[in-house]
Amino acid sequence: MNEVKLVEAPEGIQGAGFFATALDKVVGLARSHSLWPLPFATSCCGIEFMATMGAHYDFSRFGSERPSFSPRQADLLMVMGTIAKKMGPVLRQVYIQMAEPRWVIAVGACASSGGIFDTYSVMQGIDEVIPVDVYVPGCPPRPEAIIDGFNRIQDLVKSESLRRRDSQEYKDLLARYGIQ
């Protein structure tokens, strides 16, 4: 047989011509293997992302074949690079325009915490304006690290409950950031 590794099916009850499992698990499986990222690349980490997308590290084998620059059609906001205070409102606007379900990954030291730029003009981490799911440290992180961060997002997506976006806890989280 061929060497291609296939995704494992979730736990369930199998019989002749049917497979019964929880809807959450199937939807999570499908979503996690076709996340469309929005590459919000501002600086050096963006060049490492270009290297990750290239033929050597091949990001699209994880399902991100189509990076979308339109927020409406993207699932995952990948913030790569320094976000200055002038850029903060722009980032917030892009996040608000994304449709649920949406995840955010902060790639690099600057997006996670301001990095080496502890100055008056740099936002010390994008979690000042939007909620973040996964932080990838590094300056810039190696492509392997970016892929590892993406795999952690895939784990989050796989195990997320379908009700999460309507829950009070999520609404409180968004309210903390002033997003409806």
Binding site: S113, D118, Y120
Partner: protein, 164 residues
Amino acid sequence: MEEAMIEKIKSTFSTAIKNISDPHELITLEVDSNKIIEILQFLKQDPEMGFNYLTDICGIHYPENKGSELGVIYHLHNLVKNIRIRLKTFISSDQPHISTATKVYPGANWMERETYDFYGIIFDGHPDLRRILNVDDMVAFPLRKEFPLEDPNRKDKKDEFFGR
């Protein structure tokens, strides 16, 4: 070659030149801020000078020199004879006005905007003098020595751990 040029500049603008020095073999003239545009025009258009390339304009702040705290520094380059020259001029921070160099060198446009953004030096006659790199509603001029580097309102880093 260079001696003759310096002599010609000195003889044409004798009153405006306050100091001539040569740090690391780059001729540096400290000139009067009222005459700077005339000098730039002379350096560009006089056939013996020929400084047709404006390399850079930047600002500097010396808070101890009362009356001439803010400085504007021009670097010019004669591409044919390969000679560089630096012009420095100082103005007071109460009245930080100086004429724009955009009529002589159109490339001075953004360089002067950046100097205004960082130091608050107002270039009279500039077509579009507004902030370029910092946020538009900032009031202070960040590269002056009294402005702090870090944002004092950030909550996640405690200054006592960083020795501040």
